[in-house]
């Protein structure tokens, strides 16, 4: 028997395939149904396994790793409760198009469907939240499923895939180490040919007097930052990004007008109202950004995307090009003319001056906005920043600017509290030489706070900033503005001592509450490559402005000045 015909166990093959695909780090948590795989992993010298404290932590770490490196993120869980703990992360990755391979153990094939111990139909559960999933019934199928799953996770519009391995399939012997014929259509992983009339596209853009680029997360997935910059600079076109698109265009560039949408800048939202041409680059007219029938209604609307299902989904558009954004822009840019658009740009500059991001910094207390501005300066905008969900997330999006893609990690589509800390850990594993900061709230941090142990165990220098307002701040903000200050279940009467909690894990911490302490605090925070917890006490009534109320359009934006005038501040 030749070497390639020698039989190995399914579990051995799983590990060999991961190694072959260049996977060198996986995040996981063991259990009975995945033990054969863990036993093989133990022998691997190429794959480092990161032991987490909760499977949700594992998948968010894989997400943070994937988003900050552009590589596939891999997480492992056992059957039943281990697998169901991945559900939130899979949904998160699905909504934000993150390439994740989740590997789960399953009860033995002859026990499937019998309500066996630790059995959950994770295949059925994850159908609507994965890009692809499979229950693998024979070790002979492992190679093919692995190849299909990874191609699908990374191909086209990326997304999460899940492979479920019954325990007996992991111990079964096989000599099928290479997939023969793939069963999926190449359109699911090959780059699509460019579809659409680029000449007409360019002609409409060239005619525009007040064009605007509206850049989404797809631009980051397509690695199209360079081309977007070229397009903007050549055509003198201002650029707004979505929450997911932050970093795809330099935040400090003179053509950048910041984030648009619910908590976008006033100048970005006004630019949307007044542009005569809007070009969507890999964004999805999300409901936090666009109200159907009212979004850029006076503009010619154009859309480039790799996912045809996004065309005309919520907002109808006039011009469509299907394809990989980078490839499309390479063809489009030469057709775009150098047009002098100084009056449009000057106009936007005036708006920027008259409607800046604002907050009241007259008291002695620390304002999160001021703090983040300072943090941006002191870290020279070089850090990788992850966030949780809430006010702190929006302040970070507004006040920490990014000049590069893949440095802003936030749960955009699902809005998952508990994402920030594990995502930061994953990013730190992927980028050991970068400063990685997790910006969180006193609510969110407690959703996956157990991962402090992972930081401590692997000595990862993750910097954790907690804005403590003793409230579920964003919930409070809505209650204040739209529910007549009935603070139903948004006030925390009890928080742990976060600094002491850090100490319990040998992580150094500090708590600050007054303005005069900001410099010292940031210095302590960024010092060295050690983990830090910085708890910043902030006023509970501080709000995020501007704000477009849910379901409303750019026209209904509430600015800081409006809030003061109406006594909502």
């Amino acid at each position: 028997m030749s070497k390639s015909e020698a039989k190995i166990t399914g579990a051995r093959l799983m590990v060999e395939l991961l190694e072959e695909y260049g996977v060198d780090i996986v995040f996981g948590y063991p259990g009975g149904a995945i033990l054969p795989f863990y036993d093989e992993l133990y022998k691997s010298t190429k794959i480092k396994h990161i032991l987490v404290r909760h499977e949700q932590g594992a998948i968010h770490m894989a997400e943070g790793y994937a988003r900050s490196t552009g590589k596939l993120g891999v997480c492992i869980a056992t059957s039943g409760p281990g697998a169901t703990n991945l559900v939130t992360g899979l949904t998160d990755a699905r909504l934000d198009s993150v390439p994740i391979l989740a590997i789960t153990g399953q009860v033995a094939t002859n026990a499937i469907g019998t309500d066996a111990f630790q059995e959950a139909d994770i295949y059925g559960i994850t159908i609507p939240i994965t890009k692809y999933n499979a229950l693998i019934k024979s070790a002979d199928d492992i190679a093919r499923h692995f190849e299909e799953a990874t191609l699908i996770a990374l191909g086209g519009r990326p997304g999460p895939v899940l492979l479920d391995f019954p325990k007996d399939v992991q111990t079964e012997l096989t000599n099928v180490r290479k997939s023969s014929k793939l069963k999926i259509n190449p359109r699911h992983y090959q780059k699509p040919p460019i579809g659409g009339d680029l000449d007409a596209f360019a002609a409409a853009l060239n005619k525009a007097k007040r064009p605007l680029l509206y850049v989404g997360g797809g631009a980051i997935n397509a690695n199209a930052s360079k081309e977007i910059r070229e397009l903007a600079e050549k055509g003198n076109i201002p650029v707004t990004t979505t929450l997911m698109g932050i970093g795809a265009f330099p935040g400090t560039h003179k053509l950048a007008v910041g984030m648009l949408g619910m908590h976008g800048t006033a100048y970005a939202n006004k630019a949307v109202l007044e542009c005569d041409y809007i070009l969507n680059l890999g964004a999805r007219f999300d409901d936090r950004v666009a109200k159907p029938g009212e979004f850029a209604e006076n503009a010619v609307r154009a859309h480039i995307d790799i996912d045809t299902a996004e065309f005309n989904k919520r907002v109808s558009v006039d011009h469509i090009v299907h394809g990989d954004l980078k490839e499309v822009l390479k063809v489009l840019i030469p057709k775009v003319e150098k047009v002098d658009r100084s009056s449009w740009l000057e106009y936007l500059d005036t708006i920027r001056k008259n409607h800046p991001l604002e907050f009241d910094d007259s008291s002695d207390s620390i304002k999160p906005q001021a703090f983040l501005q300072k943090l941006f300066e002191k870290s020279k905008g070089k850090a990788i920043v992850s966030t949780d969900v809430g006010q702190h997330q929006m302040w970070a999006a507004q006040y920490y600017l990014f000049d590069e893609a893949n440095k802003w990690l936030t749960s955009g589509g699902l809005g998952t509290m508990g994402y920030g800390l594990p995502a930061a850990i994953g990013a730190k594993f992927g980028n050991p030489n970068s400063t990685v900061i997790c910006v969180s709230g006193d609510g969110s941090i407690q959703m996956n706070i157990q991962e402090l142990a992972t930081i401590a165990m692997y000595k990862k220098g993750v910097k954790i900033l907690i804005f403590n307002n003793n409230f579920l701040g964003m919930v409070r903000q809505w209650q204040e503005l739209f529910y007549e200050e009935r603070f139903s279940e948004s006030e925390w009467n009890y928080n742990p001592d976060f600094v002491k909690l850090g100490e319990a894990y040998s992580i150094k911490g500090m708590r600050v509450a007054t303005k005069s302490e900001i410099d010292k605090a940031i210095e302590f925070f960024l010092e060295g490559d050690e983990a830090r917890i910085l708890e910043v006490m902030i006023p509970a009534e501080e709000k995020v402005f501007p704000m477009i109320p849910a379901g409303k359009s750019q026209k209904d934006m509430i600015e800081f000045s409006d809030a003061i005038r109406t006594g909502k501040k």
Binding site: G124, I127, T308, A309, N312
Partner: protein, 158 residues
């Protein structure tokens, strides 16, 4: 507006839930669904009849094409396809109306598949309009039970 979607899928377990899941997720009501294997044993054909405006059905079509197990989706307009549905219906009968029912079946070219002293079990196939019409005719005799397959369809060749 009714749409007849003909969907070619890989023939393996779970594909049905993937496809029907897409419809439920968008709270779409499926009028009927019929599945059968094609001449290629690895490929099944699903025919799904849905009501919905064109733009939303177009969305579903694009979403369907994103499922790795979906090979092709065709939106057949009612007028350019041959569609058939099979129905088995149990109708009450008495000595008085027995011949009447038999002659209606002859007109419709429906087959009497079984009979007892008090019932006929009738087999009829036709497009949905014909099936509905036939069932309406049977209504007055008293229908005891119905089984319908859901529509299958093929595009007309020209």
């Amino acid at each position: 507006m009714k749409h007849i979607l003909k969907i070619l899928v890989n023939n393996h377990p779970g594909v049905m839930s993937h496809v029907s899941g897409l419809f439920t997720r968008r709270s779409y009501n499926i009028d009927s669904i019929a599945v059968g294997v094609t001449d290629n044993p690895e490929i099944s054909s699903m025919v799904i009849v849905v009501k919905g405006d064109d733009s939303v059905v177009e969305q579903v079509k694009r979403q369907l094409l994103k499922l790795p197990d979906v090979i092709d989706v065709e939106d057949l307009a009612y007028h350019d396809c041959i569609s058939r549905e099979l129905v088995l219906v149990v109708v009450q009968c008495s000595d008085a109306n027995r011949t009447e029912i038999i002659s209606i079946c002859e007109v419709f070219q429906a087959r009497i598949a079984d009979l007892t002293k008090t019932t006929f079990t009738i087999e009829f196939s036709g497009n949905t309009r014909q099936v509905n019409h036939f069932l309406e005719m049977m209504q007055k005799y008293g229908i005891e039970e119905i089984a319908r397959t859901g529509q299958i369809a093929l595009r007309y060749r020209s």
